[in-house]
Every structure is written in C-alpha cells, then in structure tokens.
Subunit: 560 residues, 2 copies
Amino acid sequence: MKTKVVKKENEGVKVIPLGGLESIGMNITAFEYGDSIIVVDCGLSFPADDMLGIDLVIPDVTYLENNIDKVKGFVITHGHEDHIGALPYVLKKVNVPIYATKLTMGIIEHKLKEHNLLKSTRRKVIKHGQSINLGCFRIEFIKTNHSIADATALAIYTPEGIIIHTGDFKIDYTPVFGESIDLQRFAELGKKGVLAVMMDSTNAERPGFTNSERTVGQSIDHIFDEHRSGRIIVATFASNVDRVQQIINSAYKFGRKVIVEGRSMVNIISIASELGYIQIPNETLIDIDHMRNYPDDQLVLITTGSQGETMAALSRMANNTHRRVSIKPGDTIVFSSSPIPGNEKAVSNIINELFRKGAEVIFQDTHVSGHACAEEIKLIYALTHPKFAIPVHGEYRHLKAHAKLAEKMGIPKDHILILSSGNVLELKDERAKVIGQVPHGGIMVDGLGVGDVGNIVLRDRQMLSQNGLLIVVLTLSRYDNRLLAGPDIVSRGFVYVRESEMLMEDARKVVDAAVQKCLDGRVSDWSKIKSVIRDTLSDYVWKQTKRNPMILPIIMEVDV
Amino acid sequence: MKTKVVKKENEGVKVIPLGGLESIGMNITAFEYGDSIIVVDCGLSFPADDMLGIDLVIPDVTYLENNIDKVKGFVITHGHEDHIGALPYVLKKVNVPIYATKLTMGIIEHKLKEHNLLKSTRRKVIKHGQSINLGCFRIEFIKTNHSIADATALAIYTPEGIIIHTGDFKIDYTPVFGESIDLQRFAELGKKGVLAVMMDSTNAERPGFTNSERTVGQSIDHIFDEHRSGRIIVATFASNVDRVQQIINSAYKFGRKVIVEGRSMVNIISIASELGYIQIPNETLIDIDHMRNYPDDQLVLITTGSQGETMAALSRMANNTHRRVSIKPGDTIVFSSSPIPGNEKAVSNIINELFRKGAEVIFQDTHVSGHACAEEIKLIYALTHPKFAIPVHGEYRHLKAHAKLAEKMGIPKDHILILSSGNVLELKDERAKVIGQVPHGGIMVDGLGVGDVGNIVLRDRQMLSQNGLLIVVLTLSRYDNRLLAGPDIVSRGFVYVRESEMLMEDARKVVDAAVQKCLDGRVSDWSKIKSVIRDTLSDYVWKQTKRNPMILPIIMEVDV
C-alpha cells in the first residue's frame, strides 16, 4: 500500500471545493496535482426559500470543463442526493468514470438510467480497503458508518502527503449491516502521518456521541410490542436502508406483513435488496393491492413523506388523496426521522392532520442522526493527528463549531482552514495557502431548464408572489399615435376583482387620463408612455391599498 | 366575592371559540349567557406559508356583529399580538369597552393610537385580584406568569359555575418582576368547585417544568462576565420586559451602557418604563447616536430580530444595511430567544452571517419558554379539579397532548373537550355539548385591504411564484375580426429572455399559427380563441421546458 508518486518542484497539491461550504448540500471538491484532477462527490442542493419554482441546484463546473483533459474521475463517498444528485447534469459536460462502493453505485446507476446516461458512463465498483490510482493520485476507500449503507471515507495519497476526506459519517460500534467504521485504519494512517483531514461538520455543535442505529431498532420493537392492534405506518428516509431493515425485522417478529409505499422508497429497497444490503424474509413483503386480504393488526406500511412533503405518500394518506390508504382511528403512525431544518412546520402540519384523523402519532426517540457529534469528531482527530484540519459539510456555523473542536484537539489555529467554495487551497511543503479562486456557484434547474432562470426571473417571481400584477394594455395607431383601444387593466394575484370593481374602474380612469395627457402632449416615445403608466398606476394603487403590485404596460400598434 | 346571577331555565352558558384552536395565534373566545356576551382576547395570527403577500390574519367576528347588543366587552389576558393584535380591526365593527391589566392596556393603547382609535375606545385597567361585572358574568383577574409581564388568568363566574381561562401562562416561583402566579387562588376556587378550565397547551408535549425567567438572568450575567472586551449585542423578543430588565441589570453590573434598537423594542421599553414595569438606572440608557463616545467594551445593544426577520435591526446589522451598526470581529451576539416554529432556517441564516463577520454567537441556554410544561399543567388540574377540561392555545397535536395529561389527572375522557373554532359549546347542569356552529375563520389583511384577498388571488400568486407568466396580446378588428396586431408574447418570471430568445420566438409562431387557424375558420368567439391560445401555448411550453407558467391571453378590439 506504499504510494510512489513523483513530487514536482514548485508545485503543491490543490484542494478546490466547488460547492458545499456555504450551506448543506452540493458537495463537490476537486483535488489537483500537475496534470491530474480527481473530483470527490457531485451533489445537488435543494432550493433555498427565495428560489421560487426552482427544482434543484447544481454546481458550476466550469473549472472542470476548462481542465477536462486533466479530470480522471468522480470518486463518490455515498449515495445521498447532496453527494450524487448533480451527476446526471455534470456528466453531460464532464464525462469521466465514476468510482464508488456497490450500493452507492447501484443508486447512481438507477439515476443514470432515468437520464439515459447509463451506457455512456464508465463505472467501477470499489470495495472498502481497496485503492485505485487516478493520475498521480492513489485513493483508498475506508469503511465508515452513516445513515445510508456503504458510506466510505477516502484517503487520498498525494505527492505532498495523505489527505483524508471523511465524507458524511458517524461512528457506529454496533451497525445494523456490515462492519463498524474502520477506526484502526484511521489510526494506522495517523501513525504514518496525515497532511490534512477534511471532516463532516454537520453535528459539530452537538456534544457527545451519536447513538447507534440499533437503538432505533429497539424503540421500534417496543412500539410494535405496545401497539398490537390497528395498522402501523412508519415514515422514514427512503435511503436509510438499515432503518427499513429494522422495521422489517420488527414486522416479522410481530407477525405483520410489510407494504412499501412511495416511489423513492420502492426504488431504494429494490436496489438494496437486489445487491444484498437488505434481507427480507419470504412472504413478508406484500403488494399494496393485497392489503385488503389482511386484518389491520397484521399490517405495516413503510412510507416516504417523513419531511411533510406535500406530494409524498404520507401526506396523501393524511389528506385522503392517496388512492389506496386513508388514515383512520386505530392507526399508529411513527415518524422515524427528524425534520430537516426548514421542514419543521410542514412536519408539524402533517402531525396535526394525522391526530385529527384519530390516529396515534409517535415522533419521539424514533430516530438517530447519521452524522458525528463533537466527541466523534475529536476521536478522528485523536487517531489521525493531521497537520491541517479542513472542516467541511455544514453551514458556516457548523464549520466554526468544528474549528473550535479542532483547536481543542491541539491543531494550531492557523492550521485550521475554513474554505469558501471556489477557493484554490495549495498544500505544499507542509504549508497551506489560498492561492486563487475559480468559478463556482449554484446553477438553478427548473423543469428541463438548466441555468435559464436567473436573479431577474427570481426577483419577478418574488414580486408576483407578494403582490400580483396589473397589466395595462392599449393599442395605438402607427400613423398618428391615436389611441385606438384601451387602456384596459387586467389583474392577477392582486385583489378579488368582484369585490374591488370600483377600485379597478377608478384605476382605469386614472391611467386613461394619464395616457390621454401624454398623447395630447404629442409624447410618442413608447418607453416614456409606459413609464407614465407605471408611475401613475403605482401611485394610485399604493395610496388606495398600500400595496405594490408589478405593473406591466403593453402597447400594441395597428396600421391605421 | 360571592356571585349573584340568576339562572335561567332551559339555557346553559355557551363557550364559543372564534379562533385559536386550529393553530397558534388568533385567540378569541366568546362566552354567552342570556343577553350577555363577553369576549376573551382578540388576537391576530401571522400568515401561513401559502398565504403569499399577506401581512396578517384576523378572526371573522360576524357572530359578534350579529349579536352586537349583547356584547359587553373584551377582557384581555396579556399584551401579545396573538391576544390583542386584531383589536384595531375588530373594534371598528364591535366597539365595546376593553378590560385589561395596566401593562397590557399600555400596549393596547399604543396600538389604538397608531390606528386613530384611542378616543373612540372605552378602556378600563383592572388589577389582579379585582373583579368586574359584565352583564350576567363576573370576571376575576388572577395573577399568572408569562413571557410578558402583567399576564392574567380569568375566573369567569357564570350561572352554571366557574370557568377558569388561564390565558398563556407558566409557573414562575421566582419571577423577575412582581409576584408569582397566585396558586392559592386557583386552589381556593378549586375547593369552591370549578366547572371548566380552559388552559394553555403550547408546551403540553414537553415533560417537566419550565425554568424560571431568573435562570436566564444568571446565564446573561455569566456571558457578560466571560466577555469583558468588545460589544455585546443581545437579540430578544421586544415584549419580554423582564428579559430586557435582566440584560440591563447585567449591563449595569459590568459597567456597560445600553442602547435599545428596533422600533418595537423602543416602544415597549418606553411603555414599560413609563408604567413602572422596568427599572433603568440613571445614565445607563444612551442614544444610538452617542454610541461612538464609548469604547466597545462599555456597550450593550438590545435589539429586535431574534427570529431572523429580514427587516429587523439585527439582520440589518449583519448585512451591513443598518445605518449605525455593523457587526465586526470582537462583537459577541447573544440570541436570548429560541426560533418560533417555521423560523428555524431564517435564524440559522443570520447566525451564519454573524459568524462570517467574525463575531462570536451564543444561542444556547439563553432562553426559557413562557408556557407551562406538562407538570405545570398537571399542577393546575390538581389545584382546580374542574368538571371539564378544555385544552386551548396550541396546534391540534398540543391540544391532544394536553388532553392526555388531563386524562392522567383523573378527568373522564368524555369531560375533556377539544373544540374547533366556531363550535358553540353549551355547559348546562354539569353537562357539555356542542350544540351549534357560528361563522368563523381567518380574514386576510394585505396592506389596507381587509378580506379582499381570497383563495383565487392566493392561487394566482402561488402559480405566478412557481412558474411566472406568459401574456399573449393581440388586436382584432371589430368589423371583420381581422388580426390587426400581434399575437405578441410578454413574459415575467418565466425564463431569462435573452438566454431563451429562440424558445420565445418559436412560441410566438406556434400561437400565431393557432390564432390564424381560428380566424380562418371564422371562430369569432373570444373565449374560444383565448382557450385555443392557452392550450396551444401551454402544450408547447410544457414539451419544451416541463414548466407550467400561467398563460394570460388578452384580446383588444379596434373600430376598423
């Protein structure tokens, strides 16, 4: 496992995060040395609250496109959307091989299939403990634990030393599937000497240790034991295969059949089951169409929608819009999840609705995080003793909290590096310095459009959403600028017109007078007329209603 | 204190919640007997996420308007917006006297002044322990504790028995200002016999006791002690006068001058100080304009914006848009608050921004709730032993959790009443029954408009916010339906037009062809033409972009 890479004079290894450091999501980091670039992860982020109508956000990879000849491949740490979700978009521009563990690759392949990219993409499944050579880098996959199976940390051997990238991780001494995190290997590398550790910061603000996934299994068993009558419906994250396994185990133990509901849940379970990451006893899984053949106390539904997503299965069940399942008294609904920040209200709304339908709802002690808390972060530092600490994965507050932990662990303050996306960090001769900046940022995806919605469009959507709009249309004669028709006012999202007929009619008169005055004064410049309409109407409406609708004058011209 | 009210045959006392039972906020409950109605509280609620552009929501008081001759007055439990905020709107329709404690009345008067309603509104300040007679009701004010001073519970003496309404409350044995909650009086009433208790459910899901406000004072003292250099900026709720008092105490103790920032903070502190609810040592308060005369380590700012509100002082300081204060390294910012559900992300965003500016940010152990937890709720039941429990103030999940506590306290299940807004609950001869329904609901206020924005307008705003709109304009001849101008397409919030010129031009051609076909086919019905335009364009756009903008055809007609 000795690395032999030739060290070049006058050049260090560059670490270039292209996303993921300003908020949760969109994780992608390039490592560059000489003529080699490798890219760790390629995630998307979900739109911020002010990105109205946007489906998802992907990273700007201009830097990779500009250096396409150097790029050797994507190395993926695990199968969550914030680490793989941008692949289908980015591969169209940067078509290089993907390296990942088996389950991660299974999930990626499903995604590529949907985008018709499976054939055109080279892929290689890597096992924990195995290493690959990409250009001048050697990359070793090290087993970790996370809220999705088959997560990996990476030891990246560079000419300047070893950089460890943990990916998202936690330490689970008693995982549900497979081995515990390979702490021995972290220790071994630490003994050897580690240049830098880039480590998950998500839970850096939380003291102590994250509980083992197995503790949730015990809670679920307990809930099944206490609720012997009625259906049990468990909502959780589709990708948490170990969680699903434990729910299935409890179902089997208590003689209940399992129904899986929600598209993403069905997909992931079928991938995990096919690849051997989940064991489903014979005849345990039944189709939703056969549900009616079983009494309620022999049924468990495992469903999506634990985040209160309006279109997910659980919401539809709660609102009686699901084609097969409606919530009824006697049902027990378990949220095996906690709300992702920003989803608290949506989750609370659905909990209220479920209670209203007469169900019992359980949402406490039924979830553990997939991320390392403070003591776990400290343990990794204790084992690896890196020269540099680079907190990653988290909002700025989490990176700061992580930095404080690193400092406590004896890493000098100037060796703790909080980077920004686009930074080019050079590590050379055991010194670290941000030496430049490359293009970076989020590209918004709306429907099929990638990048065609920008700030102007968003600002318009924002304005329309708050106050609606008033459209003023009029037709002028091309020859003598005579008013042939209009001005008429059409409104949308402004007021309920039937209730406000007077207001709208008065507004029309005010605009009419202003337009007439323009035309009488021989103003023939359309942009001038439009600006008079805008000012007049906006003044009038503000005075009457204290509102600021968008005002859109449209002038048509006719050849008479 | 003996009540003498004549009991009528065939009639019970009616409890009619007009709001407040479907979500947090908009608390207002009518109590009716014979020809007397009293109204407890008159609050607003803040708009739900899907109420785009709405400023606030007030209750429908049609029932009170229809029975205006019976209505004797508003009895207010405390000065929070969700208990007093709708008064300025409702008083215009239901102009009856207001009864409240001194600080509560001070805050109400400030509000009435802003709405020019002070002169036209009769008001009476009531002391704790005092009773008033309103129609056939006697109402006694009982001291409680809450996150605003001068909160009161009400014992409402009715011909059917005593109904206790707690308002929002907690039990604080060591309050910062004034007395602890008058538990003895609750006990005395319990001995006498209580018909029903209507009690705050907000924290019913939380086990244990809510900590005393004084514990926050100790934390703040500790923070001041540990941070002797640099400015300290404390963000908290404007109305929490006791909190502000404790911050001022710490400032005084550690030799710092206090600056108050944010309009609502300045208002409340001036009202509280005038009425003697806050003690500010001489020369402690300074004007923000004199800030520059003091070194940083002699300054404390108390500010609004603890909920991440974009326009509040703290946000503006963090974003360098505040006219006097910008956050800088060395500042310590204390969030003496916790995020109200739904505000988590906004608060996190501002914490990130403050860290980015180099400040230290403290947000743990610096706040206590103003609401009773499970053990406090149980204590009130133990003291009052009511025949009926009516959980109020909270989302449905909280009312359910409260109901479980009441059951544990020995109240029979069928004597625990979870009401819905608009229900008419009759209590008669120690029986309770919902006997009817009155109009109720939220009326949306947008600018000056009260109720002129309804579901159609909101649906339009929602649609506009997600996908923007396409306007198709064309001019026809009145005589022969000839196309004189257009069709032109104008878009807003759809795509960035310069990037999508081709798409827009092709869309125009598609619409043009469809319109020509209509006209060639002698279709002269405008609604038919509009529907063809809508269908054609919407199909085309969906195929090209997988988006669904609003499509708005406008036809003009010219006399040629």
